[in-house]
Assembly symmetry: C2
Homo-oligomer: 336 residues x 2
Amino acid sequence: MWLRRAVARSQPGYVSLKGGAVKQVLALSGGVGGAKLSLGLERVLPAGALHVLVNTGDDFTHLGLHISPDIDTVLYTLAGRANQAQGWGLEGESWNTMEAMALLDGETWFRLGDRDIATHLWRRSQLDAGQDLAAVTQDLARRMGVKSHIYPMCRETVRTVVHTDEGDLPFQHYFVRRQCEPRVRSFEFEGLAAARPDPDVLALLASDDLGHIVVCPSNPFVSIDPVLQVPGMWQALRDHAAPVILVSPIVDGMAIKGPAAKMMAELRVPVTAAGVARHYAERYPDLVDHFLIDDSDAKLTDEINRLGLNAVCTATVMTTLEDKMRLARTCLSLEM
Amino acid sequence: MWLRRAVARSQPGYVSLKGGAVKQVLALSGGVGGAKLSLGLERVLPAGALHVLVNTGDDFTHLGLHISPDIDTVLYTLAGRANQAQGWGLEGESWNTMEAMALLDGETWFRLGDRDIATHLWRRSQLDAGQDLAAVTQDLARRMGVKSHIYPMCRETVRTVVHTDEGDLPFQHYFVRRQCEPRVRSFEFEGLAAARPDPDVLALLASDDLGHIVVCPSNPFVSIDPVLQVPGMWQALRDHAAPVILVSPIVDGMAIKGPAAKMMAELRVPVTAAGVARHYAERYPDLVDHFLIDDSDAKLTDEINRLGLNAVCTATVMTTLEDKMRLARTCLSLEM
């Protein structure tokens, strides 16, 4: 693998970002954390140079709608319409459909905002008309004025099931309905064996136009694992000449957002950036080149380096847009 | 037919409303006009004695939702939640989903209110779960606190197509999108030949508990014709002992609401209550016993009587709830 990369880098036409010319960037993303870094990447790259490959294991059918929570978080974030305080959904959202659903004694545990519902209705109607999720996602991005390319991790249906001490739960039932309360034993991605990487993403990987691969600070177990475990996916990323840069979702022993830390504790993985590094090193050997950890975790550098990942300390917590852009620039400054 | 009715009336157990005991009432309804009289009937009958058989030829799939406009108008009206000024939809409605749909450059010609969407989402999810439209309608009525029984005209899919001088149009495209502008040549009810009357309605007709059949002042061509033309339906109504009372949707040469008058003109039917009477007399011989026309149309009495319908003059325009209840009482005062 390292040899292939060295060969690829020596080919004519490969120009690093440092060299001035800009190549394409592929980001792997779940929801909020991934969307934040994707926004930073988009803002420091020329329009259209960012490609975001998004987890769809969280997708589910609810009230007849096809809900793609991670895709929508990325779409809304890149469209500048995300509700940042809430961490999901649209800014300035209203909840009249849910109120009426409550009057019907219908299901309201998964809160669908009135404006958000337009997205789901559009997606549903396009899927019903025979479009696949990749085409619908591309169409939605265009309609929202998003210049980056957003891809579902695959076009097949994959559903994350959480094996817990209270039995098996579909992901959204675990995550939203049960608020991650049951203890996690393991995860299963139903349908994953029959999935294949998005052809457009494979074409990007084959084109040699790709300069960097960024694994965003999303949940390793339920956001990034499904993307990487689409058959052939992580190997294709590993074998590409571009450096793979992973950003830690764990900072100072805590997850910035979501249940990653709680899951790690329940899976008896150390709740540290080093625990994250070990997960990637064991599950995806030689995939990750650089592992960005927060300055507050500098003490873990040696431990991470021993796992074969090159630890890079920086400020990884993204609060402002400037934080996101600075972290994006750091990612893109790293070479093999 | 007349003989069978006479026999039926002489059977023990048949007690007229005048006699004090209350039997069940079956109303045939389209949208607004039918819902108004249904509300009047409900208010003058004991809880649960009203059965409303509703046109579903206007139903359509839109943005992945199953929309049943006439059923919803009846449901919302009987639930006391109809937007009376607008003539459709819910009172106090908001339009945020449609605004967001417009931002997506999606379809907004059929206005779906935020609260209304909850009904459609619930219906969609229940249909997807394998319930039929009759069960879902019954369930929605219960959830809205409606005590009357509401039935789709059949459980099969029937779609009204309007043959116009601009070609064939699905009903809602003619009615809403094109605002009834194209000239009508004829109507077709796709799927009707394979439909059959709702089994619960047939059971009601077979039970001898039915005291009156009321054909509400809905559009004869696109609201009542589809209901009556479900194979076997109008003959079953004709053969029942209960009197069939038709209320004219045309008053003084005009339709109270909707395109009935325009359609009659384009179909070269006189735009009068007599024109309505002729339509029923020719298409459904011996079905209608009494034809309620507005006092303003008293001059048409002889013409209507000659068609074999017994014209009854009364105030048929329903503005207030009292109007609706008075018209309902007049309907229920009529015997064979």
